[in-house]
Structures are given as structure tokens and as C-alpha cells.
Symmetry: C2
Subunit: 250 residues, 2 copies
DNA sequence: TATTTATTGAGTCAATATGACACAATAATA
DNA sequence: TATTATTGTGTCATATTGACTCAATAAATA
């Protein structure tokens, strides 16, 4: 699909959504990024808001277009509204590489205020799809990010900070992990988001005490050590905890 | 100031900020609202974003204009992006009462996506100032809200929910309480936000254990019972807790 | 002036949770 | 068969929580 066929008059001007899509693979938290056509920068999957579309729906559409996934955890976390955020000098080379007609050129030179979302998806279920603005779509380790356009590094950092806070009163892992998983995988997710190591026995005790995990008969196999039990989330309890919160101060 | 003198071309189209300004008085959490010119509805203090102004700065400006206060706690908490949120039927009577010229009429008929902020201010320090769209500006008890326009009731509810979550990892009370206050006032704030009663001795123990309160020599006086000690916040500790979080899960 | 009332400051105590460990069990590999 | 890495389970001292008690006291009232 050619960018120049996009009719920008369908969108709300000056507004966009950007989606920090997290996946988990090889015991690592990963982010889905798009390669810009200048072969230098990467960017977050994002898009514009149709004139009769809700902002949340636009974010869902972006997620669907890049991952073909629906009904995963999608959470708005912050607005990025600095007037200079999308008008850094680097945009010039970028714009040249996109080969835009006059109208689209003007569209991209606007000031954009963007609404940041993060979503948690099951890595294995995703076949990344690039958008018309990009060359490719790939996963990156959260601590090995490439060069990013605009304030997209800040947005990713903001998503992590938001998750770190949400961890204190919400369960995490559903949608990010496969249906059955060893507890160590869940611990790795917590450790990545919190940015520090946790004590395994204490982590397990705490998680199991929430009553959100169901122990499975099957055993994971393949490595040179004792095989761990697999667990799955009890969705009913999971959604109750999401709604009611855990670890309340009072 | 006449509304019709406002030059709407100075603003980002389709975007606004709304600010849920909380105050605390008579042991009650209160919200600052503006009376619409139709003499029927009330609304949140809000405004538009200047073309070269950050969204945060617009929210600060709204707060400054209505309360003459700067540097208080101001937190973005959610975006309200439903395409029909500002175009309910009730707007017609409202628009008539505003006596707008053609250009402004069009401006108000736009779809608006609004960024919700909440702020915590010291009730006694505020002299509410109405804006050009409103007749007056007044405080309302959080549980005795008047009829509100659009989705403003949802926005207030969202601010409360956000605060309820923030309570679990952030201190609260600075900017909302006077410099010296009895512990019971702080407890009332927590109880209002959480929507339930707390045990006094346990609340005091928990609060004092955070090390954020300094006991003062002075005693509060006036009521027919033992006089309580007054406390003040240790700002250094307060800001550290705001940044680092309290009550972490791990 | 003595008594009553409301509310505070301080504390108890059992139950529960947390942080920091120890150690045997076991799946593949050497 | 021994080695290695990692798991399941458990211990234990300490800290925190929830549900209480009760004497102290400022003003109102009798």
C-alpha cells in the first residue's frame, strides 16, 4: 500500500496514538518496533484517529494491524504533549526517504500530540506486519533498543514505569505468557519490569498465595536440571484481581 | 471578558484539557466546578491547548486561571476519547445560552478529545475565579455533585479511581492540607478516596511508620474533647516517597 | 463546680506476611 | 556414575496487620 493513497482528511488533525507492544521470549521482555524508511531509525507502531473513532479503538486498530491480535491487554498510560516532540531536526532526512506528496508532507510537519498505550501480547502468536511507513517490523530486547525517532524512547520508558506501578496492584502475565508456563518465566517478567532480581522461593510463595495460578500435571522438559511444574492463570481470579487490585495499603 | 473575543485559531483543534481540582474542607473532599450559562449544568475547569504550548502547560494554565495557584500537585490520569462525548443532545440549549458568533459556534460543535488531569490544592488558599464560559465557580462535596455536562461526571469518577490506585504507592495530603494538621484530617482524605472507613490507631501507626510526618508542639483546639497533636509533612521524605513509591509488592 | 461526652494517645496481642536462607530432589550431560 | 544447574519444599527470626482496650482530656452541661 502506497502512503500517498492515504486520505489524511479522514483523521483527527494533530493527534496520534503510539503503542508499546510488549512480548516475552527467551526469558526476555521485548518491544515491537518498525524500521523507518531512512534505514537509520526505528519507531513505535502508531497511527491516527479516525474522525468518528474513539482513541481506544484507534489503539486497538494499530495493534490489530501490526500483530493481527484482538482482545489483548491494552492500557493507555500517558499523553506526550510537548510541542516540539515530533519536530526534531532528524525528521527532514526521514521525510525525504518517505517520498510524500505535498498534502501528506504538510500532514507530517504538523505538531502531533500522542496518546501512549502499552499492550501485552503472546510473542508466539504474533507475526509482525510492517505498516506503509516502514520497511520491516521486529522485536527488540527492552535493554537493547535501536535508535528511535522523536521521543519514542521516552514513551517506551514511560510504559515501563507505568507497568512498574501497575505491578503493585494488578496481576501481570496473562497475554504475555503462553497458556502453560513455569513460574520462573513469570518471575523473569517481574524482574525485567522492576529492574532487579527477586528471591525465587519468596516470589513463588507470594504468587501462589494470590490464588491466581493453577498447577498443571504436565512437566516442562529439555534442560539439564529438574523439570519445573507448569502453571496456568485462573482467568476468573485474574480478572477479579485486575479489577479489585492486590496489595492494598489499607 | 467576552467569549466572542477569543481567537480559536490559536488553539489545537479538537483537543482540550479538563482538570479535576480537589480541595479538602470541613473534613470533606471537594471538587471545584463552574456553573454553565444555561443555569442548569456545571462543568469542570478546562481549556484548550495553545499551538506552541505543551498539554501539561495548558493544564497548569487552567489551574492558575481558576485558582491563582502554581506549583501544586497536577497529574494527568486519562484521556477521554469517545467520539460522542462532547456532542450529546444537551449541548444545544447550552450553546444557545452562550450567545456565540458563527466561528465560535463551529468551534464548540467539533468533536473534542480531552486529557483528564487531577490536582490537589489547599482549599483555604483558593479564591475560585469563573471563566468566560461560566457564571460562577464553586466547591462541591465529592458525593453531592450537581448535574454535569458531557462526560464530566465520568471524568471526576476516573480521577477518584486513579487517586485510589495512586494511594497504594504514593503519599497524599501535601497541597491538600494546610501546613499543620491533625492526623484525623489525613485519615478523612484516605477514607473519602477509598470510600470506606479505616481503623484510627492502625492508620496512625502506618502513617507514622512512613517517616513522612513531623510532630509539632502546638495543639489544635476548639472542640469538646482531647486536643490532637498537629503534624506537618517532611517534604524531603514526601518527595522521595512520591518518586520511589511505597508499599511495593516485592 | 462536678459530671458527661466525644475523641485522642498509647498500647496489647494473636495472626499473618516478609526476607534471608538451607537442602534434598532430579533431568540432562560429562 | 559423578557433575551441574535448577527446582520443590521448608525453616526461622523479624516485621506488619487487624482487631481491639483503656486511660487522658477539652469543652459542654447539669
Amino acid at each position: 500500500m502506497d502512503i500517498n493513497n492515504v486520505d489524511t482528511s479522514l483523521f483527527m488533525p494533530g493527534l496520534s496514538v503510539d503503542n508499546v507492544i510488549f512480548g516475552f521470549h527467551d526469558n526476555q521482555l521485548k518491544v515491537l518496533l518498525l524500521a523507518c524508511k531512512d534505514h537509520k531509525h526505528w519507531m513505535l507502531p502508531g497511527g491516527y484517529i479516525l474522525k468518528e473513532e474513539s482513541v481506544d479503538a484507534a489503539a486497538e486498530r494499530v495493534l490489530l494491524d501490526r500483530t493481527s491480535l484482538k482482545k489483548v491487554y491494552l492500557q493507555e498510560f500517558s499523553v506526550f504533549g510537548d510541542p516540539r516532540r515530533s519536530r526534531e531536526s532528524l525528521i527532514k532526512g526521514l521525510m525525504k526517504s518517505m517520498d510524500l506528496d505535498t498534502e501528506l508532507h504538510k500532514w507530517f510537519l504538523q505538531r502531533f500530540i500522542t496518546v501512549g498505550y502499552y499492550s501485552l501480547v503472546e510473542f508466539e502468536k504474533v507475526t509482525p506486519v510492517p505498516d506503509p511507513l516502514s520497511l520491516s517490523c521486529d522485536w527488540f530486547d527492552i535493554d537493547k533498543l535501536p535508535l528511535l525517532i522523536f521521543d519514542h524512547k521516552t514513551i517506551i520508558h514511560g510504559a515501563l514505569t507505568a507497568m512498574r506501578q501497575h505491578l503493585n496492584y494488578q496481576p501481570i502475565g496473562l497475554n504475555l505468557l503462553p497458556a502453560h508456563f513455569p513460574l520462573k518465566s513469570l518471575q523473569s517478567i517481574y524482574e525485567t519490569i522492576l529492574g532487579r532480581k527477586l528471591d525465587r522461593p519468596n516470589f513463588n510463595r507470594k504468587m501462589l498465595s494470590l490464588g491466581v495460578l493453577t498447577k498443571k500435571e504436565k512437566l516442562y522438559t529439555g534442560a539439564a536440571h529438574k523439570a519445573p511444574f507448569l502453571y496456568s492463570f485462573n482467568k476468573k481470579v485474574y480478572y477479579r484481581l485486575l479489577k479489585e487490585g492486590i496489595n492494598e495499603m489499607f
